[in-house]
């Protein structure tokens, strides 16, 4: 939508209305960086999943799996990045619902059921104000056949869950082959006797 001539741009509402989903080229660029984070994780012996949370062209959160270090099995890349965004909001005194509504998550693997539910919960406030947008909140690489919460095992973003935040959009398949390759490399190294990779494409 083009802004109508004569409308002001100074108010917060206008800024929110002017927010548009990132163009494909831009999505590719961020995904390239997320893949870089995943590669770093692989070099450090961690599950190679990388993610970024981008708000107005700025990376507010960047994460990789931290389950082993923290002994907390919920510390997936997405949860680590979400906490960084929450901290940023706290420091800058920003309204977190407004920030999350305009933040796009780029992640190399489809978020699991837990992370998908967490992302939904973070969209709560604006949903109540009826300011739902069609922004693809999540852009991901390969599917997560074991735990995927955005279509593979369950479909949390669009299921009917009226008390669990707001629905959101996902786009999958960005650089999926590279993301799968990283995971295959990891699982091969972890268990050289494994007959098959744990992540594979369902045919």
């Amino acid at each position: 939508m083009e802004p109508e001539p004569g409308t002001g741009t100074g108010t917060a509402a206008a800024a929110a209305a002017a927010f548009r989903p990132p163009e494909r080229q831009e999505q590719e660029r961020w995904m390239q960086r997320a893949l870089g984070t995943a590669k770093e994780a692989l070099e450090n012996g961690e599950v190679p999943v990388g993610c970024l949370m981008v708000y107005q062209n700025e990376i507010l959160g960047q994460g990789r799996n931290e389950v082993n270090e923290t002994k907390n099995a919920t510390r997936h890349a997405e949860m680590v990045a979400i906490d960084q965004v929450l901290e940023w909001c706290g420091q800058k005194g920003r309204d977190r619902a407004e920030v999350f509504e305009h933040t796009v998550l780029y992640v190399t693997v489809e978020p699991c059921i837990m992370c998908a539910a967490a992302l939904r919960l973070l969209k709560k406030l604006l949903f109540l104000l009826n300011l739902v947008t069609d922004i693809p909140l999540v852009v991901f690489g390969c599917q997560n056949e074991r735990f995927g919460g955005c279509g593979s095992v369950l479909n949390i973003p669009t299921d009917d869950l009226q008390h669990s935040g707001a629905p959101f959009q996902c786009i999958g398949g960005y650089r999926a082959e590279e993301a799968v390759e990283l995971l295959k490399t990891f699982y091969k190294a972890e268990n050289p006797n494994a007959p098959k990779s744990k992540v594979r494409k369902k045919q």
Binding site: N72, A73, M114, L122, R146, G149, L154, L161, Q162
Partner: protein
């Protein structure tokens, strides 16, 4: 008799106001699905084994290994004692059977087998799958005999006999702790939800937490708080719980050297219920073998966090509108996932409902 007196004693303390119900998978709860089939009386019982052989070739019923091919006739005063399944209605696809009325010659193509010794075929309904629970078995047997490998645990759970009075009393004390935590959290402006993690092998409380979602992190639901407190107890952890003095954990030092964990016999057997690889430096891998008591049914995020954490059993009091352990989903029984856990609901239901009002 000595046990008699013991029984009376336990009965005296077993007056609980709550009833515990297992939250089973849909397959375990569903009605018995039936298939249309043809059967016939065996008039000449000397032919029985020959008929079984003939039919095994002609109509092998490979997809129904649970079905007993022959049953004894239920009605008295008939000319036959046994009845045999010939085939499924769908096996006759392509055969011209007007009005579903068939004769033996329709069922036994010439030259292949003769069906000698059988009476007039009749219509029956037979169970499509092997029953998983005793109620399903009883319903299935009404139609046609099937095999059944009873899981005693599931039967006991369904009949409310899984936990004795002593166990129930312990469970109540753990849920009381969760309620207390919920109340303390409420006083701090939080959602009134409390949770307790217990090692059932020793009845030690590993962590107690309340909901902190109205603080700086909206994802700190009581379950997420408890998972992190368990991590602290194991030398890990992420969040700063100092602001919440009523969220606490059992520290690493206070574990005995030979920390026992009992993975126990699961209600819903699955591949990974074994404890192999679960113990690192004498401590379990995250929540392996532990039980969770929580005042209300966990959401999707929390239920999946418990899958990742390898919890053993979850006891909750009241259902939640978007709950993921029975209401909207049954994440703990989801086939595609690599860990499953048992769930029971109803523990101190009324007390926990009061919390929410």
């Amino acid at each position: 008799m000595e046990p008699e007196c013991k029984k009376r004693k336990t009965r005296a303390i077993s007056t609980f106001t709550w009833e515990l119900r297992p939250v089973l998978s849909d397959e375990k709860l569903c009605e018995v699905e039936l298939l249309e089939a043809y059967a016939a009386p065996i008039i000449n019982t000397k032919q029985t084994s020959c008929l079984i052989k003939q039919l095994a070739c002609l109509y092998p019923l490979n997809s129904l290994p649970h079905i007993k091919r022959v049953r004894t006739c239920r009605e008295k005063n008939t000319d036959h004692a046994l009845e045999i399944i010939i085939c499924l209605l769908r096996d006759l696809n392509g055969t011209d059977v007007p009005n579903g009325e068939v004769s033996l010659s329709d069922l036994f193509p010439e030259g292949k087998a003769d069906g000698i010794g059988l009476g007039e075929p009749f219509h029956v309904k037979i169970p499509a799958y092997q029953p998983l629970t005793r109620p399903q078995f009883e319903a299935a047997s009404q139609h046609w005999p099937t095999t059944f490998h009873e899981n005693k645990q599931v039967t006991d759970a369904l009949q409310g006999r899984l936990f004795n009075a002593e166990k129930r009393a312990k469970m109540q004390t753990f849920m009381e702790k969760a309620i207390e935590a919920a109340k303390l959290g409420k006083e701090m402006g939080m959602e009134p939800v409390g949770a307790v993690v217990v090692n059932p092998a020793t009845d030690e409380i590993i962590a107690v937490g309340h909901d902190c979602r109205n603080g700086s992190n909206p994802l700190l639901h009581a379950v997420m708080v408890c998972i992190d407190l368990v991590a602290y107890g194991q030398g890990g952890g992420v969040f700063n719980h100092n602001k919440y003095p009523n969220c606490h954990f059992k520290s690493l030092e206070s574990f005995s050297d030979d920390h026992v964990i009992n993975v126990g016999k699961p209600l819903l057997p699955s591949k990974d219920h074994s404890s192999t690889g679960a113990i690192v430096n004498g401590l379990p891998y995250i929540c392996t073998g532990y039980d969770l008591y929580v005042s209300r049914e966990p959401c999707v995020m929390c239920s999946m966090a418990l899958v990742h954490s390898r919890i053993r059993t979850v006891f909750y009091a009241t259902s939640s509108p978007d709950g993921a352990l029975g209401t909207k989903y049954k994440i703990h029984t989801k086939k595609d996932l690599n860990h499953h856990y048992d769930v029971f609901k109803g523990l101190m239901k009324e007390e926990c409902q009061l919390l929410l009002s």
